[in-house]
Symmetry: C2
Subunit: 148 residues, 2 copies
C-alpha cells in the first residue's frame, strides 16, 4: 500500500473513516463478508486478488478491528474471517455505494445484482437522509458544523 499522510486524528469523521477503510480492496473484502464469504480461498477466488495482497489487507483489517478470525463453523482446521461489530457497522457505506452504482453506472438494459429484503424477497428501499423531524434532506439542505 502506498504510504500516505494519516488522518486518524482528523476532526472530520469522514476523513477518519477513510483512514481506516479507504482502500478499494478493503471495501470489496468487506462487501464479500456481507455476502457471506468467510474463507481466505473464497475471498481470493471471488476477488481475483493475489494471495499476498489479500493476506496483507486482512491482517490490516484485523488490526483495525474490522475483522476477527474464528474457528471454522464446520469443525475443520480452517480459520474463518468474520466482521466484528465495528465492521458490520459499515453496512450502510456498502449500501450507499451500491445504490449510487445502480443509479449512475449501468445502462438501461444492463443487469446488476440487487439487494433484497431476505424475508420478503423484495428490493430494499432507497437510503434517505432525514432531519430529526423526519423530513428528507438533500445535500444542499445540510451543512457541516466544525469543531473548535
Amino acid at each position: 500500500m502506498v504510504k500516505r499522510v494519516s488522518l486518524a486524528g482528523a476532526d472530520c469523521p469522514v476523513a477518519r473513516a477513510l483512514d481506516v477503510i479507504g482502500d478499494w480492496w478493503s471495501l470489496l473484502i468487506i462487501r464479500d463478508a456481507f455476502d457471506g464469504i468467510c474463507r481466505f480461498s473464497a475471498f481470493q477466488a471471488n476477488l481475483g486478488i493475489a494471495k499476498g495482497m489479500l493476506s496483507a489487507r486482512l491482517k490490516d483489517l484485523i488490526e483495525k478491528d474490522i475483522f476477527e478470525t474464528v474457528p471454522a463453523s464446520d469443525g475443520s482446521a480452517y480459520r474463518e474471517y468474520v466482521l466484528t461489530g465495528k465492521g458490520r457497522g459499515l453496512f450502510l457505506v456498502i449500501v450507499a455505494l451500491r445504490q449510487w452504482g445502480e443509479d449512475c453506472l449501468y445502462g438501461p438494459d444492463e443487469a446488476h445484482s440487487v439487494l433484497v429484503d431476505r424475508r420478503m424477497g423484495r428490493p430494499v428501499d432507497r437510503l434517505a437522509l432525514r432531519s430529526e423531524t423526519g423530513a428528507v434532506l438533500g445535500w444542499e439542505a445540510t451543512e457541516v458544523m466544525k469543531t473548535g
Copy 2:
C-alpha cells in the same frame, strides 16, 4: 495511482462504484466539494495534497463525470470545480462514512464536526435501510440476488 484490475464491467454495483471513486483522495475531494470548496487552491490547502496529485485526481474525476469546471462565481478568471448531478449522488456515501466514523472512531470526550439540517441547525437523523414496507433492515435481514 497504482494500476489495478478494472471492475467497470462488474455486475455488482458496489464494485463498479469503487472502480470510479474508490480512492481515498477522490472521496476527500468530493467531501470538500459538499462542504462548499470549489477552487483548486482551497482543495489543496484543506487537504494538504501535492498540486500534481490534486490536479491528476480532479482531471480523473472530470473524465468520470463526477466534477465539471465552471467560470468563477465572482467573475474572476479562475475556474471552479463543482460536482455534477452524478457527483452529488455520492452524498449518502459520504454521510454513511461520516456516521460510521462518528460511531466507531472517536473517544467519548473527543470532538468531531457534525452534519446538521441547515434550516433548523440540528443534527441530522441516522441513515437507516428500510424494506419497501418501511421496516428497518439490518445487514442480516438482507441478501444480494445475483444476476444470471
